[in-house]
Point group: C2
Chain length 290, copies 2
Amino acid sequence: MLELKELKEQIDQFLEQQMPSDIDQPTLASSMEYSVNAGGKRLRPALTLTTVQIFGGQLNQNVMKASTAIELLHTYSLIHDDLPAMDNDDLRRGKPTNHKKFGAGMATLAGDGLLTMAFQWLTDNQLPTETQAELTLALAKAAGPAGMVAGQARDIEGEHQNLTLEQLRYLHRQKTGDLLSYAVLAGGIITKQDSTTKNLLADFGAQFGLAFQIYDDLMDVVGTAKQMGKAVHKDASEHKNTYPGLLGIQGAEEQLHLALKQAKKTQKKLVDKTGHDFSAYDQFLAYFKL
Amino acid sequence: MLELKELKEQIDQFLEQQMPSDIDQPTLASSMEYSVNAGGKRLRPALTLTTVQIFGGQLNQNVMKASTAIELLHTYSLIHDDLPAMDNDDLRRGKPTNHKKFGAGMATLAGDGLLTMAFQWLTDNQLPTETQAELTLALAKAAGPAGMVAGQARDIEGEHQNLTLEQLRYLHRQKTGDLLSYAVLAGGIITKQDSTTKNLLADFGAQFGLAFQIYDDLMDVVGTAKQMGKAVHKDASEHKNTYPGLLGIQGAEEQLHLALKQAKKTQKKLVDKTGHDFSAYDQFLAYFKL
């Protein structure tokens, strides 16, 4: 069983080696690779690959390709999110954002290329076609206009409105939760689990995703730019709706603990349902240090 | 056999009815639907559906959904192409461009949503999973960073360079040809043709695509804004590389005739190989009126 740190290394290496052969224009390649190789935490593909391992699956070339596709998609969402027309951020993972380095036109194309390439990687491998098709549909739903993109639209629209807690949860479920939910679910699709198990995996991912977003909001308030590798205190200055903004720091911390408690409950249900050892998920739940 | 005009009506209707249920944010929905329902010629899905019909396939709900996905993808490419950071166009199909109406942030998201939804539609239907997976891979390759997006990157990069005819052809093969090639190929994938036939279909699409791009360049020089529904004489003012710019109007017309001649040759090869009647393709070849 490879742990988070080793998985990150394998994912970094796979992305670096695999990308160049699928891009056929030099500046576009530089721009796409710049952001993908900027060294994120690789949480999403690591969630998929950990889940695959829990069910006894091998991390071969086909599984790596299908599982790292989500990192391409996640990176596209960051590049487009940072654009001048969106959040207008200059710094990401401690480096200039894509459009700061390559211009907004090329950054738009780099994002478009990564999003499209994600679906290429889901199907350009030797996994069974029913697995490829199921992954494609699940990712498209999670990332599309009823998932992540809807959450981003809601985020833009909500900037100058005061959302209720329920509205904020819904926004984040779409914007962050759906993709993290897919990340865990994908491990179940790849290893062909039954639908009850797949639903539990998706639940765990959604609960992890909620915790993740609350934590991110909290860090924007209490973290430093150096810790985060990006600008902090941006949310308040941009009138973003956040958990600490709505509930205060203590209230947001309570919500975070609640989400983690639910995720642990689902983790236990998965053990009961499948008989497998899900303690590898503890590495992800340990992410939230306050 | 439904003809081009009837196909366009069916496609318009299908898109209008199908889209709302897959979008979960009101402004995003308005923005996506605004551009998709702006009434394009629907050439790409019509090429797929015509090919399906030639091989005796039925235009049922599943085939309609998988075949109209390309129109979502094509529309995304227009929205992003028009953005201020790209071509900065104000007018498209005789109406304000998406970002003029919804702002550049929402227009970026509308494009992202349409691109993602295209892959959703390829897999959210009852076609066999091997067909869904084959369509997904073919579309991702055609539209991705070794296809359409690479062509767009090349276009941006080439604006202040003088390209050779060979470089210009390569750019357009990626930017326009690959997607039109996919449009024809998709009809062969849906009706499960052998690989020789699928290669011929892809060839026909690529040759049609080349003719299409030369024609579009010519119309930018000799057409009027009213005919075209968009600004003309833009290419020269933006130092775009074009066929008339490189070869003169007469030279570009010769290249157009050559591309059409090759497409007709491939059309005949398809008849010889399959025994089917490909005269329905004549409707598409009749598009190029000088």
